[in-house]
């Protein structure tokens, strides 16, 4: 910019000079006079140049003083940490992101109908390092029923003994799906087994403490997680006295089969009180629910073509043993799903799911879905899902579900 101004200035002066010389030569033909005139002009020009030069220098100095410019350093010089647009006051602000989840539905479902168009929740995340010992992650969900803390926890990543400790409100480490936010599940909905046995959209999510440890061994990645919660989670656990805690345990094994393929296996357990014995706000029955789960994931992502081809196959099996006034109900449910990325922006998927109801083991729902996802960029995706469900009571549902997901801001990377 400054260089350009200078060049322009010189060009302008050259034109002026040329014009005056030409005019002078037309008036007098005396070479001596001409020479004098040129000498005079040269002096004038030098004076003008000096004046403009001074003014430019002063202007440049003012510019440098007023704006933190990023000057590219010469090779060998060290350059300071870049100062991007944000002022110093924003430096310690957490990373903030908003994720919108817009849903549409068409078709027939008499048991659990979805609105034709809805914006069930928008997730706002705040993530930052707290101090040299901890980081914090908040995920607030702004839904049609108001605002809630979906998750809000403190992580201590560097505790002696190889422990990873989390404190706060968290999605429990029961299987894979329960830990995932809606915007990262590969469907527009959650499978029947989640709805019937593991608390639906909200899932097992509660205030508590989580401790995870790597079990070092020469063979595989092995991680054990133990969690204690207050004991209130959706329709799964209900705490009537402060002592009614719920407990979640998870063991995860992982192994790379090759650079491209890996398997991830997990066993989960959860136990807590349920609400079936509550009469007039008094837990007369003191009934408990036990959940067992197995999860298995196979991933294939050829490293060199990672932007174009991926496959993720996953299954989770859940056994629920719910003690309730009519006796123990032992329900079982599972889903199997596969998602294949066949082009840079396209994924196709299929899912089969089936589950008994937690409170009534005799009622079994089953469904299957086909999915197609288009991702214009990392921050925006459009998904269509064709879903058929056969409900245990008899009715069948046939639906087309649509979803638009979009993210703005800086959203932290998700755990693998």
């Amino acid at each position: 910019m400054q260089v350009q101004t200078r060049v322009l200035l010189r060009a302008l002066m050259a034109v002026v000079l040329f014009g005056r010389v030409a005019a002078a030569s037309a008036q007098t033909a005396d070479p001596q006079a001409l020479r004098q005139e040129i000498e005079q002009l040269r002096k004038e020009l030098a004076e003008v140049q000096r004046q403009y030069g001074d003014r430019l220098t002063a202007l440049e100095a003012r510019l440098v003083a007023s704006a933190p410019s990023v000057v590219p350093a010469a090779p060998g010089e060290s350059i300071p940490q870049p100062q991007v647009t944000s002022g110093a006051s924003k430096v310690f602000n957490p990373d903030i992101a908003v994720i919108g989840n817009f849903l549409g539905a068409a078709g027939r479902n008499t048991v659990n109908p979805s609105p034709a168009l809805e914006m069930p929740e928008s997730e706002v995340s705040f993530q930052a390092i707290v101090d040299p010992y901890a980081r914090a992650d908040f995920f607030m969900s702004f839904g049609e029923e108001g605002v809630g803390v979906e998750e809000g926890f403190l992580t201590f990543p560097a505790i002696p003994g190889g422990l990873l400790v989390k404190v706060g409100k968290m999605r429990a480490a029961f299987g894979k799906l329960n830990t995932l936010h809606s915007h990262v599940v590969p469907w527009t909905d959650r499978p029947l087994v989640t709805d019937n046995l593991v608390g639906g959209e909200e899932g097992i999510s509660d205030a508590g403490v989580s401790v995870a440890r790597l079990i070092t061994n020469p063979w595989i990645f092995l991680e054990a997680t133990g969690q204690v919660y207050r004991g209130d989670s959706a329709d799964v656990f209900y705490s009537s006295t402060p002592g009614d805690l719920s407990y979640v345990g998870h063991l995860r094994g992982y192994q790379d089969l090759s650079d491209d393929t890996n398997v991830d296996l997990g066993v989960s357990f959860a136990r807590g009180h349920n609400a079936s014995g509550v009469v007039d706000d008094v837990d007369a029955g003191r009934f408990a629910t036990d959940l067992w789960g197995i999860d298995a994931t196979v991933r294939w992502r050829p490293l060199q073509q990672a932007n174009y081809r991926t496959f993720l196959g996953r299954s989770e099996l859940v056994w629920s043993r719910r003690d309730q006034p009519g006796g123990v109900q032992s329900a079982f449910g599972y889903y199997v799903s596969g998602d294949y990325q066949f082009a840079r922006r396209w994924l196709a998927g299929a899912r089969y799911d089936r589950s008994d109801r937690a409170a009534d083991e005799g009622v079994r729902d089953s469904g299957h879905s086909l999915l197609l996802t288009y991702r214009p960029s990392e921050f925006n995706q459009i998904r269509g899902q064709y879903r058929r469900i056969k409900y245990g009571e008899g009715p069948k549902a046939n639906e087309l579900l649509f979803q638009v997901l979009f993210a703005i801001g800086a959203h932290g990377a998700h755990p693998f």
Binding site: I79, G162, R252, N307, S377
Partner: protein, 311 residues
Amino acid sequence: MNIRASGIAAVVAVFLAGNTGNAQGRLNVVTSTEDLASIASEVGGDKVSVTALAKGYQDPHFVDPKPSFILAVNRADLYIAVGRDLEIGWLPPLVTSSRNAKIQPGGQGYLDASLNVRILEIPTGQITRAMGDVHPFGNPHYWLEPGNGRLMAQAIRNKLSELSPADKAYFSQRYDDFDRRLATAEKRWDAAMAPYKGTKVVTYHRSWPNFMERFGLEVIGYVEPKPGIPPSPAHTIDLIDEMKRGGIKLIVVEPYFSLKTPQAIASQVPGGKVLVLAPSVGGVKQATDFIQLFEYNIGLLAGALKQVTGR
């Protein structure tokens, strides 16, 4: 009593297992990319054992933070990152789950290799994602410049000396040796590229600004309409027109991008040629270390330029 004591001892032993240092007294260095691993090995010699997470032939922006990487990072005495937000999508969860206090951000064992190198394309003014996957801290592909390799090696030498002061002289001597070999090689590369100074080329992604500037080539366009955005028909047609007008013939592509669009463009441009260069050590078999990376790329590039320019 004795049984209980030994029980406690066993539990303590289990909890402490895996946190013992490396038996050979070597520093355990883990790096984000193979380029950093190569430079760390050049400087660290047999006083370090080096592991790279991302392979040279994969897109370093999109790496899965696999649990097997957590195990590697867990054992690291030193983690060397490319920085400039290149690993923003995968490194933070690895570091958080590593249970390794040394390599947490701000820790003594965490080195951001980008802090004293020459960074290009630092955006000024308002940036938005309408610009694609723009990196707010400048172009992170800075290692593709021998001068920056030298600066990275200096930073690694200083960090290793800080972590292992007894070996300071050793690291200095290894650095000097690397510096000398690099300088000799640079003369060779400069000579090979001298005839083609000012030649205009097209690249797929903005991976090459440091490389092209260092060797006197001018990048006038990209196959991607915007960083991280896949090619669009309209942009491809514009690019073909621009290449035809400017007599530009060479398209440089990273090995992890599809060759379909670049080849389609090249077929529309008279004398058009697609060249797959290695953006990192390990990007091709021949690019075995930092110097070989340039050796391979310069050899291939000079050959192709000779063919398309006829010089």
